[in-house]
Symmetry: D2
Subunit: 338 residues, 4 copies
């Protein structure tokens, strides 16, 4: 029990809820889903930057209804301010903000406020719960502050964690070749995200250096040589949404191929948002606009290829954040997610 855990479980009640980072892609996706959630009263939508809208004047307040069509109230987006959030009486706050901003908010909000942080700021902290429900459900239910996993990390953990936990694959030399749509790179203007540049393009980036690699290694339970030799290669796809992650693994000596299915079934049979597909490999169109992460695999001898797919803005960000909200606030886990 520390300051990031929760004093006592809440019952189902409408929580006064705030979103910081409301104008980004994850923020917008979140607002759209919060607007339809029976347990949420949206009291503040804040943004640290300029409204990322082509036709809005920089002075004009952005209406939340313009950011999130499902929202029919009158709220407008206001500048990010911890004090203003407290004044609005927020009981639950989502942070879809850069890490340095998240730290400031997590440390600044009073201890009565529950928080899901979508940044990477708290993903390596022993005293903050890592919000991947498939692994940490009970801890999430007791947490006051939850660190929402990265989009790539969710795709890779779904493939790797059950197999590593069961000890049926070799822990070193694991490879994840991941492909992501452009919304994963955010709404900020970048030359390589201009429509004309990306339209018929595909490229690898941040090879050996992406910040999600250590996040995956840590939460999949890799250690020592395993973590050091893990290779994660992200690629940019000419699509708006979705992550397809292809993993290259080797069965541990003496392990049969059937152990793969057994491990995934054991880990995910009761999970509402992981679909175990067997040898039918998942595709982006199976998961886009849903909170599902699908997993499928093929085996040849000791070689295993596992493919996972999810929507980077839903299960990879806002949907998972809402799944964590449901666990933290005592709602059925799938509320607002189907």
């Amino acid at each position: 029990m520390n300051k990031y855990s929760k004093a006592s479980p809440r019952g189902q009640q409408k929580l006064r809820t705030g979103v910081v980072g409301a104008t980004g892609y994850a923020g917008q996706e979140l607002l759209n889903r919060l607007a339809r959630h029976p347990g949420v009263e949206l009291v503040a939508a804040m943004s640290s930057g300029r409204p990322a809208s082509s036709d809005a004047s920089p002075d004009a307040a952005v209406r939340v209804a313009d950011l999130a069509p499902a929202y029919t109230g009158a709220l407008t987006c206001t500048p990010a301010s911890v004090a203003a959030m407290q004044e609005a009486g927020a009981e639950f706050v989502f942070l879809a903000t850069p890490p340095e901003v998240s730290t400031e908010w997590v440390e600044g909000l009073p201890e009565g406020v529950q928080i899901v942080d979508l940044s990477g700021a708290y993903r390596f902290r022993d005293d903050v719960v890592y919000g991947w429900p498939e692994k940490n459900r009970e801890a999430i239910q007791r947490a006051r502050v939850v660190s929402n996993p990265g989009c790539y990390a969710t795709a890779a953990l779904t493939a790797l964690w059950p197999l590593l936990k069961a000890g049926i694959i070799e822990a070193d030399g694991i490879i994840c070749d991941a492909k992501s749509g452009a919304s994963g790179a955010g709404k900020g203007l970048r030359a390589d995200l201009h429509f004309v540049e990306l339209e018929a393009n595909c490229k690898a980036y941040s090879v050996f250096t992406h910040r999600h690699a250590p996040e995956i290694a840590r939460h999949a339970g890799m250690a020592g040589d395993g973590a050091a030799s893990f290779i994660f290669t992200p690629h940019l796809l000419p699509t708006a949404r979705g992550i397809l992650a292809t993993h290259y693994l080797r069965l541990a000596p003496g392990v049969e191929a059937a152990a793969i299915a057994a491990s995934y079934d054991s880990a995910y049979a009761a999970e509402p948002f992981v679909r175990v597909r067997g040898t039918r490999l998942p595709e982006l169109r199976d998961v886009n606009h849903t909170n599902y992460c699908d997993v499928g695999w093929n085996v040849r001898g000791r070689q295993v290829v596992v493919v996972t797919a999810l929507d980077n803005l839903v299960k990879g960000a806002a949907g998972q954040a809402l799944q964590n909200f449901n666990l933290m606030a005592g709602w059925p886990e799938a509320t607002g997610l189907l």
Copy 2:
């Protein structure tokens, strides 16, 4: 004869050639084609802005070979400077620059230098030749300075000018509903050109206010009520390249439908870069990456729908500029364009 005309025709010779605005989409398309032109020695590529490259440091000089794969020389892109261009000994200069920059260059370069200006700066001047070869070939051949038409204007003029000249359509109430790929909006970063925003989008813009509307009216020969009542509605398509323009016209009283084909044949039968398609309407994929403008039409009673298609960066910009170069420099008109 004025300072924008040419003293005497040149024979075929290799001209020392410079490009200003080399890093934009039209500039790059132009460099790629100049690199393979037998009559061009590229002596300078200049840019007024920052290198629009995602991975280049702002200080690094951009290599022309990186802007234009067909170029195999060692030239790098340098800051725009009239003096430096003269020093480089340029005999022919292409200006793919904003209008206010073009004016400065056209007025600043010595009278011995030939110029094709791709901006809109000189498109309404009686003393500068409008570089649409299908109408003004002979004047272009004699010109020192040529004003290259706008991309939308080329598509609309190809549809309208032969019919208005022949007097077979009513001159007022003409409508052009045009759809363009995103490269027409340029390389500058804009929220609505972010891949995620444009990927599944389509929208109209600048209704009644686009600067190409008066350009079309002027050079198609509309006057008075015709020019005032002309409606031009541009739309943004989720593609990189191409303009498809759909025109709504009415046959003049007593005119037969066959007059349409006769007018287009008369205007374009000998043209190397206009393909008269009859009732088979053109599509973007017929013309993309080519210097062709295709025209097709359907008639019902007095109602006429004419569709034209071209590549906005080729026949709508760099290709037409090179076509003008060929005419001005005495090369066969299709050199470097097939």
Copy 3:
């Protein structure tokens, strides 16, 4: 009162519901929404053709859960059969079928069964209600059989009907230049819908001959010269979804521009699924995956350009069909549509 009207209004109750044409794009969109509708018990999903799936063997029954991710039951898709539908006890049937198939079903089902037909078979019948709620809400509430409007027709009617009804625009010479995503052409394999062919393409088709043109003319209230002179030009866009329709109209003599806003406000202020945008023109991304049809306009003198946007599979097909279901079955009109 005829055999296509309903004997007496039903209260809110769960209706045993069947879908014919379940494997097409409209059928899938419909199943996904029916799966979450509190008033629907899905009892049959039928298809007349082969399962349109790349990896399914033609013999294998397609699971409804594979067609519609929101459906979590065990139903599989079966061959279309009026007898089997009766055996399943369907009280409400959606027909997402070709016109000739729809006719067979409408005439074959017993009179106790309510029907929404998404084909064009009954759109020109005086004795069948045309299911555009914005115009015919009360008749729909009393109907047993409703003919769901075409996708293009919905976009055009939203723009045209209020202005024609108010008599503020000239009724002849109306033009609708419409652009549609590829799902409007259906799931059938066609060379021009192959990804490689459409990816960077745009084209007009069926100029003067599209079957939605007379549908629009009839239900917008055009008559005589107006209907004969109405021009409808559909275009294919390189997107999956969405219709953007640009209309060219003239104000009647003496009418002020303000009459446009007044007419739209009068027609749509209370409508749940039409958003009147004023001079801010709608875009596809505002409406995709929603049941909204947005309308905006610009005026210059007597010239009016009206743009409407909708999702062809939602407000243009399955969403509107569900809106009609709600009206016919006594549910709040927006149930399952927000």
Copy 4:
């Protein structure tokens, strides 16, 4: 010297040339380039199937000019026939046909006719030259029949062959994770290539079973365990063109990272169509519509990630076929390819 080798080298001369499989994507790309080649007189374009055109009647002969805009002659596409090809006097024949058709043609054409076969029929034959110029240039120059490499194979061989030949990487456990645009799957109509299905999709396919895997293993010089453990995973991208292949390799014990650059430089420094990029990883947009294959890499300890990129229709098919033509017919290797 066998019947697949050439009696004596030809000098530069215009060869009477035929294309079989003219209506496919590789056939069209080839025709477009042959049309501009100074050493080619196109005498026949044949197709075994129906014209793959949306608006052509099946009876109508397809004009070559419609298949290949660069071609300005009057030839039409005719049914595939060895006899007709001989009658046309073809001296050089390109086969862009299925393997079983290619075999028939290679065995049926008289020995005086030179052949490049783009199918997989002869890629595993010791007595037929494998047409990858970077490895087999001299043999190609002497060959009568050349087997053109597969698209994926060219991308993988460019990455693997120099390193395996130099013995600087471990030969077993090599992984190639490749991503290809849809034209690689051909023009045939398939549900998963419908625009609506592929537009926002990405998927892996043929894991452990793709026919290019043994082709790569054989021509990269893998043997025994190396060939058996090689993993090749193709993916389908939502683009029309291009292959990006990401390779996972381990340096052999004691080898320094610098050996990578040395091996590539040694293999490719003089190659006209391989660009060695160093640590700057290639992207699709660098190579699309060109005959280049770019190679770049990153190293961490003994782990090596190599990325190659090419246009599957150019260096992966028609461009490489023309490169082989140039070698076989005695033209400069880059003729028609820049």
